[in-house]
Symmetry: C2
């Protein structure tokens, strides 16, 4: 019996540990370049305590589909490289100074190197996909690459736009976050030559998990602590990202409160007082809990998508991953 709230992914970590060891070795190997700054920046970010959830999804999907070859290793590594490239570029786009509790790469090596090393990792990601010799996997992952970028552009376009609809918000997080979770899971099935049913289920599982993960991320950005988050809370607000907690609170706001929201988001230099106002408004509308409830709904959808698989340790681990996606503390 799985308890209501699980805040670890230990089961998933344990069951994938052997393969993830190989993924990590490949990752280190593929960051090597005679141009020293490339392995330096790549490894700084990759070894900075990320959860490696995405490659773990590829590995666990291939395990539940009883993969008989080794290609899931390079696909998992390529998924992590895609993610790392996105982080490097995101930090440049967002002017971020912190990432995972450390000074961001762009603060140490500059925006220029962050953009270019991100490009390098994207190139290496595609090389590793090609190594897996699966055109179907390549199709899924290359589509994901452009959809992720499209989601990031949409997010930029909707900066500080308090009138963003829930539908637009979900399209953005589906593209910028859930798509890679979904593709990571799906290619684990593809490379295992699984049935279409299994493939579709894992694709859906990844997608719902990704949405739950992003919703909880959005909640944590207003409710966590700097230490737990590894970066300053409130980043989304200061960067003008309108996320689910804001949408939920705005919807329940009076005309006067709506005016306050609009003024807050029209300000060019948002300060600490503004952030405290936001926290109060969110609190008065119970917006964090509403967001976490929404996250839980998607976590449950992810679990439902796994019904097609017979009960097994790996299925339990994936279910635990879904619970983690909405109940995590960091």
């Amino acid at each position: 019996m799985i308890p209501e709230k699980i805040t670890s992914i230990d089961k998933l970590i344990n069951i994938t540990s052997k393969d993830m060891g190989r993924v990590n070795d490949l990752i280190i190997q593929r960051t090597l370049s005679d141009t020293e700054i490339i392995p330096k920046i790549s490894q700084y970010l990759i070894s900075s305590g990320g959860k490696r959830l995405r490659p773990m999804l590829t590995i666990s999907a291939s395990q539940i589909c009883e993969c008989k070859n080794d290609h899931h290793i390079s696909l998992a590594a390529s998924v992590e490289f895609m993610h790392t490239a996105t982080l490097l570029h995101d930090d440049v786009v967002d002017d971020s100074s912190m990432r995972r509790g450390k000074i961001s790469a762009r603060m140490l090596w500059g925006n220029e190197a962050s953009v270019l090393v991100g490009d390098y990792l994207l190139g290496e990601a595609f090389k590793m996909m090609v190594d897996a010799k699966s055109l179907e996997s390549l199709e899924v992952l290359s589509s994901a690459a452009s959809i992720i970028a499209e989601g990031e552009v949409m997010q930029l376009v909707y900066s500080n736009n308090i009138n963003i609809s829930e539908e637009q918000y979900f399209k953005i997080i589906n593209n910028k976050t859930a798509k890679l979770f979904s593709a990571a899971s799906e290619v684990g099935a593809i490379i295992s030559d699984s049935s279409t049913d299994f493939r579709n289920s894992l694709r859906d599982y990844g997608q719902f998990l990704g949405i739950a993960f992003q919703l909880s991320d959005d909640a944590l950005d207003y409710s966590s602590t700097n230490d737990a988050l590894g970066k300053d809370i409130g980043d989304d607000f200061y960067e003008g990202k309108i996320t689910f907690p804001i949408i939920a609170a705005y919807r329940k706001s009076s005309a006067i409160e709506k005016k306050v929201w609009e003024e807050l988001h029209n300000k060019v230099d948002k300060d600490h007082d503004d952030f405290n106002t936001v926290l109060e408004l969110l609190g008065s509308k119970n917006a964090i809990n509403i967001t976490l409830d929404e996250a839980k709904k998607y976590g449950q959808k992810a679990i439902d998508a796994l019904q097609v698989f017979p009960k097994s340790d790996i299925r339990d681990a994936l279910i635990e991953g879904a619970h983690f996606s909405y109940s995590r503390k960091s």
Copy 2:
């Protein structure tokens, strides 16, 4: 009989025009996205009068190898997308305000959008490669993607380093420029199921052509006019890029002149007077002509690489392209 200097690629343009029409249609189609800013930025750059040399190489390589399928079209479009993505990111890295005689995309839409739309185009490039269903082509082009980024990083690392060796310089231009010319030509052969001989020859042709093209680019940046170049001359100097003209002049300099070179490159804010000093120093060492002679040498190597093909109109057009690479005026 081909005259000594040819400054057009009309033959190449004419002989590839039908296929290039299809490439252009595909390019427009693949920039479409509901997120308006994506087609806007992409088309702004793509339709801004670039020569489309790289996709033209894919098309002409497939023609000389008598391609019997249609996949060369999507490969050619993907090559142009890779190039366009690089331009968008380069302008961010170099803080460029002009590109092809127009205000650069980053000045109009910001660095953030330029980085992200570049990523989008890279994703679309890979999708089009996958459409061509050739793992060998994918291998060549994905390798090119990371090598290009590696070359750009190397260039960044060697900024303002007047002691860069000729070998290091050639490694940089080989990676950042020649690799894509080479890959563009090679995949034209691969997709046509050509012999290994033809494939290797076209790969070499593209590589030598790319080196000649970059050497002449480096010369033009000190010897052209703003109008012809479509951007300010002297950009390389102001951006701290040590290119072949500088290396050639520095090598021939006296100890005192070398000191001047070093001081010039150690200055944080290089001004117009500094640039005039550079022009004088380059002139006194005949550095532009030395660079153009070097470019011509590589142009000739490109032509030699075509010897394996029987005489034909398409071979003549490719030879003309090689002459153009070192004799072009813009």
